[in-house]
């Protein structure tokens, strides 16, 4: 790392390393936040102000830009509602059924258990893009174009979410609890819904956030499935903004639109970051 420090005495060495570490961390933080800083500043400035050059101070055109954006051709509100609906239902379906799948593998002993677990691990890395062609043909045949179903229902089979849930169950659910519930006469389905799911709340929350975010940001498949203007999600509208003639466009509106699609996620993230950052490592490393 910092070879010059090798020669210095040990006490100084640690001090110097602390200083260097802090400086680098601050620089990296600035590198991460710089773009969003300009985004927020420019969202408050008018097109003509921006053509005159950059200034680091906010102006007073945020509301004007926002009103212009709403008055334009881009279906912003329906985009937001569509994105919210698809992402929420995806998160719901994904966590509930992944928990169910994980419970099946964790709590029962059956012949194909090992084979099934290995199989799910193996399909974990297959990208959705390589099956997109067949997926589109299937959707065409089922007449599900411009429908949200092909964007929501497939999240039931989410190997990564499953894997996280499985890890979580292994560390938190003693099978004696399941056994005790059986003695008390609880049916298997009832046990899962009423006893196991409440115990998994932290894992469900973390994975719901992750699924929500990835669905919110998803562009490739929705762009191929949704064609009608009133069905489009925010990422599709952003790409549409890009292909519109850029110079004629009001830059203020462009910045407001970008801010509108990423700020909700940033705010939710900052509120819940403690759980999220812990969650990442738990899910992936022991893979």
């Amino acid at each position: 790392m910092n070879t010059e420090n090798r020669k210095i005495t040990k006490g100084l060495n640690i001090k110097a390393r602390r200083v260097i570490a802090h400086i680098v961390l601050v620089l990296i933080t600035l590198l991460c936040l710089f773009w969003f800083f300009i985004l927020i500043i420019n969202a408050t400035r008018s097109h003509s102000e921006m053509t005159r050059g950059f200034s680091p101070f906010p102006s007073s055109f945020l509301l004007t830009n926002w009103k212009n954006l709403l008055a334009g051709t881009l279906p912003v509100w329906s985009g937001l509602i569509n994105s919210l609906a698809i992402s929420s239902f995806s998160a719901l379906f994904s966590v509930y059924f992944s928990a169910m799948t994980a419970y099946a593998i964790h709590a029962y002993d059956f012949k194909l258990k090992k084979a099934m677990f290995t199989f799910i691990l193996m399909i974990m890395m297959i990208p959705t893009q390589v099956t997109a062609l067949g997926f589109l043909q299937l959707i065409g045949k089922l007449k599900l174009e411009d429908s949200f179903i092909p964007l929501i229902v497939p999240t039931i089979a989410a190997p990564i979410t499953f894997f996280y849930m499985k890890q979580y169950l292994e560390s938190t659910l003693p099978l004696s609890i399941v056994e005790a519930a059986r003695i008390d006469g609880s049916g298997e389905f009832h046990t899962f819904n009423r006893i196991v799911l409440p115990m998994m709340k932290p894992a469900l929350a973390v994975q719901a956030i992750f699924t929500f975010v990835s669905s919110w940001n998803n562009y490739f498949v929705p762009a191929l499935v949704l064609h009608k203007d009133n069905k489009k999600t925010l990422p599709i509208l952003i790409a549409q903004l890009r292909s519109a003639d850029f110079l004629k466009f009001d830059m203020g509106q462009v910045y407001v639109m970008i801010a509108f699609s990423i700020l909700p996620i940033i705010i939710v993230y900052l509120l819940l970051s403690r759980y999220i950052v812990q969650g990442i490592a738990l899910g992936s490393v022991k893979g």
Binding site: L121, Q129, Q137, I156, I262, I265, I276
Partner: protein
């Protein structure tokens, strides 16, 4: 296992059938939305099936012709090269910075201030909508955009630099975005790996007079090798799927001179023009490449457990 201690065999069997019942939603969804599409993608790759103007050609069975024409056309090699170049340009700084940050975060001697805050910030870009991030970069780095304006105001440039018309600046911007979006994730993975290393090893080394640099290269790095490989292969799989950022940044053209056109952008072109034969062949090739890489990941994880 607990079932067996209860004794009655009949009960054991009747409970365990629930394992299968609970698996039904997953299996059904997987078959309908992933397995059938995969099979029909492979099936399509053996047919000539495209539109030429208003004429629909095919579907006619042509065997491996699609693969032959795909692989003999220089396009796919150019796009593979682009994808790999941009992945490497993003991955090298990513792994270096992540290793550095992870070793700092997991070093109790450093007593970092606000470690939680820094971790939160470095992970933040990962959650940003990639298409919005690319659109943001497009506007920031436009000829009359704020970055050029700042560089001119600071006296670094005297006329705007055309970021979008230069091969290496476009590739550089895409790599920068990928770096920003993924280094936080990698840092957290590596940190978890470093926390797993027995601290006695570090103590023993520093008692023997090893410097922190020596400890890093001689102890941390070799022990991290499995996780580094895991990070590298998963990142490569992700890199091959690179799409949103270059697609939105270059408006799907991969300009200048298709130097930032990736494999998935190429696939997307075939899907839009409904050239199902070639699209299918390209999908199958990508499927096999990612399949082999996933198997590698799978093997590493097995070794780690044993």
């Amino acid at each position: 296992m607990t079932n067996k201690t209860r004794g009655k065999r009949g009960k054991v069997v009747s409970y365990n059938k629930w394992g299968y019942i609970f698996l039904i939603p997953f299996i059904l969804t997987y078959i309908v939305f992933q397995l059938i599409p995969l099979i029909s993608t492979i099936y399509n790759s053996f047919f000539e099936n495209y539109r030429s103007g208003l004429m629909q050609i095919g579907p006619n069975f042509i065997g491996l012709e699609n693969y032959k024409s795909l692989l003999s056309n220089p396009d796919i090699w150019v796009y593979t090269q682009n994808t790999l170049i941009m992945w490497v340009m993003g991955f090298i700084p990513q792994i270096i910075v992540s290793l550095l940050l992870a070793s700092w975060f997991s070093d109790p001697q450093l007593r970092l201030k606000c470690a939680g805050f820094f971790k939160t910030i470095i992970y933040l870009p990962n959650l940003i909508m990639a298409s919005a991030f690319a659109m943001l970069f497009f506007t920031l780095f436009a000829d009359g955009g704020p970055i050029n304006s700042i560089l001119i105001q600071l006296g670094i440039l005297n006329k705007p630099f055309k970021f979008m018309s230069n091969i290496w600046s476009v590739r550089g911007l895409i790599a920068l975005m990928n770096f920003l979006m993924w280094f936080g994730n990698t840092t957290i993975l590596l940190m978890a790996g470093m926390m797993g290393i027995d601290t006695a090893l570090f103590e023993a080394a520093s008692v023997d007079g090893a410097t922190s640099t020596q400890i890093f290269y001689k102890i941390t790095l070799p022990l991290l090798k499995p996780i580094l490989l895991y990070v590298m292969i998963t990142s490569l799989i992700g890199g091959l799927q690179m799409y949103d950022v270059p697609q939105v940044l270059t408006n799907g053209t991969g300009e200048p001179m298709r130097s930032s056109m990736t494999l998935i952008m190429y696939l997307n072109k075939h899907l839009y023009s409904k050239n199902y034969g070639m699209g299918g062949a390209l999908s199958v090739i990508l499927f096999f490449i990612t399949g082999i890489l996933s198997l590698l990941v799978f093997r590493f994880s097995n070794y780690k457990k044993s």
